[in-house]
């Protein structure tokens, strides 16, 4: 497999550069300090691991310059004199393009895998390395971040927030219940007082009646008749009002249902329309044409690969000749000479000018080849991208039956809603037909009220006549006072009843629920959420354990393959996920008591285990100067191990090393 990394304006370099890598081998990028080795690895990492979603990962990424610092205006990878940098990484059929801008924005064409940063970057400030270096043994984060445990934890947080909400609502229900009970006691008392007042008023009325019989029986008789008529009229009025209210309530409910159905029907029609549109577009895909086009592109790429094969030896040969001449010129400059011994025959002398001329001639030959190579590579890349697009388009066509099913389901549902709506409309029409019967007799309500008013007035006139007698007047005044008291008391009772009724609700997710039923609903919901919480807890434990077991297996395998006899065991505890290190003499080793060299070895070994356990799908391991800190023996063992991983897994293993050379890449 081949990987091509194209950089533009990255780090100290302005302009474009291309780095090719082969899988199955260990590649070393060597050069002096600050020659630009690390930015190559970091660019590769960025392309493979964006976007970061966890603050923790971000902070680590900032540590090795992957992401901008919070107050920086640009990424450290963006050249300080440019407004934009581009990273393009292609391997297999995968193409990653990252754009870094001066305003700090970072965009990528397809998301990467953020776990890559934890597992595949063997760098000094990787999270694993920091933990070992600081002697922290708590590695619970690794089994959470690298497994589905973190997803279950996120869901558990959501469930807990619902449980907390229900707990606080239960407190609210309790408080409201206490308040309602208190109010109901007060209401009971007030009703008792009301009963007493009514009874007192009744007594006074008896007294008045007796006096009226004595003083003016005729007026008394007229008054009694009026009282009877008024009572009858009031009953009739109450009945008509109640009937009207019931009808209005029913009408309002049905109209609400009709409106809701209308909304859903419209939404469904829209959804069906969109599905049909999508279906039509997929149906227009011609599979045969696509297959032909894909084949043609493959064939074209075959031709281009052959062309590349032809160019490479030519190019290699010319480059070698160029290097020989350039090296000779450099030597001449160093020694201040004008002639050099021929590097092939070792006999004749060649002048500096002749060498320069030969170099120029070679450059003229090489440049067109470089251009041709670039064009071929671009065409191959474009063709590959086009093939991928066409293959995806072919796959899309397989979605047609699914779309049809979705559309049919929505259509069926819409039909049902339509039928329900028709039923509701028919009910509504029935009610509307009743209301005019009533409102047509709306005048009846007004008439009744008017009649009651007139008779009350008549009754009052009669009472005024009767009251002209002083003795009677006092008793009537007494009754008026009691009636006034009764009036205020009844207002208080009404207000209290309203308070009890209004205070008897709690609000949950936009629903107003009567507290008499809220208790049961919330209790059931709590049981439901507790069950879900148990389920997520169980899965978190399983995920972490599974992740730890796999990790430990790989660590054991690597220790054995690296032949690290000084350590008997390095593993995560399956209860608390602390890292335990046991030396060969069975003694436990505290992490912070490891030597500097041992810390580098242990953290690298853990990182490779993490890579093989949790992130094997990305075929890259990157190491920045890390091997430098190991002693010679261990370095050689590690190199061989990494070479073996590269070969066995067909991975790209790319390391940097500080040397006294210009920036160079070599396969080991």
């Amino acid at each position: 497999m081949k990987a091509t990394l194209k950089l533009e304006n990255i780090g100290q370099r302005i302009g474009k550069e291309v780095w090719d890598f082969n899988s199955g081998v260990l590649t070393e990028i060597r050069g002096r300090t600050a020659s630009g080795k690390s930015r190559i690895l970091k660019s590769c990492s960025l392309a493979l691991s964006l976007p970061f979603s966890s603050e923790d990962i971000r902070n680590n990424a900032i540590g090795f310059g992957i992401e901008k610092a919070d107050n920086a205006k640009c990424s450290p990878l963006l050249n300080s004199n440019k407004d934009k940098a581009i990273i393009e990484l292609q391997y297999d059929d995968i193409l990653k393009i990252v754009e870094l801008k001066r305003d700090g924005t970072v965009t990528i064409n397809t998301p990467g895998n953020q776990i890559f940063v934890y597992c595949s970057m063997l760098v000094e400030n990787s999270k694993i390395h920091s933990y070992i270096d600081q002697g922290i043994s708590d590695f619970s984060w690794i089994v959470t971040e690298m497994s589905l445990a973190k997803d279950y934890e996120a869901i558990q947080e959501i469930i807990k927030s619902y449980i907390d909400l229900l707990t606080s609502l239960n407190v609210e229900i309790e408080e409201k219940s206490v308040e309602i009970n208190k109010n109901q006691d007060v209401l009971k008392q007030k009703n008792k007082v009301r009963e007493k007042l009514l009874s007192d008023i009744k007594e006074i009325e008896k007294e008045i009646d007796a006096i009226e019989r004595e003083i003016n029986p005729q007026l008394r008789g007229e008054k009694q008749n009026l009282i009877g008529e008024i009572a009858k009229l009031k009953n009739k009025l109450n009945d008509e009002n109640k009937k009207n209210k019931d009808l209005q309530d029913k009408l309002s409910k049905i109209e609400k249902s009709i409106n809701k159905n209308n909304e859903t029907i419209e939404e469904n029609k829209k959804k069906i329309g969109e599905l049909e549109k999508k279906k039509k577009s997929l149906q227009s895909i011609n599979i045969n044409n696509l297959n032909n086009e894909i084949n043609k592109l493959h064939q074209r790429n075959e031709v281009l690969y052959e062309k590349q094969k032809d160019i490479l030896p030519k190019f290699g040969g010319l480059e070698l000749k160029k290097k020989e001449r350039q090296d000779t010129l450099n030597q001449l400059d160093k020694k201040g000479k004008e002639e050099a011994l021929c590097w092939t025959c070792n006999e004749t002398m060649i002048s500096r000018d002749k060498i320069k001329k030969q170099l120029n001639d070679l450059n003229s030959e090489i440049e067109p080849l470089i251009e041709e190579r670039k064009e071929i590579e671009k065409e191959i890349k474009d063709n590959k991208a086009e093939i991928i697009k066409k293959q995806e388009r072919k796959k899309d066509r397989e979605d047609i039956p699914k779309l049809k099913q979705q559309s049919d389901e929505i259509f069926e549902l819409t039909q049902k809603l339509q039928k329900d709506k028709e039923k509701d409309i028919s009910k509504k029409n029935e009610i509307l037909s009743e209301i005019p019967k009533y409102t047509g007799a709306q005048n009846t309500l007004e008439d009744l009220s008017k009649q009651i008013q007139e008779k009350e007035t008549e009754k009052k006139k009669i009472e005024d006549q009767i009251k002209k007698d002083e003795e009677v007047k006092d008793i009537y005044d007494g009754k008026d006072k009691l009636n006034k008291k009764l009036g205020s008391l009844e207002t208080e009772i009404l207000n209290l009843e309203k308070k009890i009724s209004d205070g008897g609700n709690v609000e949950f997710l936009g629903f107003k629920i009567d507290i008499s039923i809220a208790n049961d609903i919330f209790k059931d919901l709590e049981d439901i959420f507790n069950s879900i919480e148990d389920h997520t807890s169980k899965n978190i434990k399983q995920q972490r354990e599974g992740a730890a077991l796999k990790f430990n297996e790989n660590v054991k395998k690597i220790i054995h393959e690296l032949n690290f006899t000084e350590f008997k065991e390095i593993s995560l505890d399956l209860e608390d996920y602390n890292l335990n290190i046991i030396r060969k003499d069975d003694t436990a080793q505290a992490i912070n008591s490891l030597s500097g060299g041992e810390k580098v070895v242990v953290s690298s070994l853990l990182q490779i285990s993490a890579k093989e356990t949790y992130n094997p799908e990305i075929p890259f391991i990157i190491g920045d100067d890390i091997i430098l800190k190991m002693d010679d023996d261990r370095r050689e063992i590690f190199y061989n191990y990494l070479k073996n991983i590269a070969k066995t897994n067909d991975w790209f293993v790319i390391l940097t090393r500080v040397t006294d050379e210009d920036l160079i890449k070599e396969e080991i």
């Binding site: 279950y152 936009g510 629903f511 609903i521 049981d527 439901i528 389920h535």
Partner: protein, 45 residues
Amino acid sequence: MTQNEKFIDELVDYIESSIHKDLDEGDFIKQFREKIENYVEERVK
């Protein structure tokens, strides 16, 4: 199976499929809430 047990199963199925389909957190929270709302609406009816 009681109504509540059915609902627990429904929520568990939804959680499992969301995790394995790598559903966006915002979408999950919204759809989860809709399920709870539907449950409450049925109970309040």
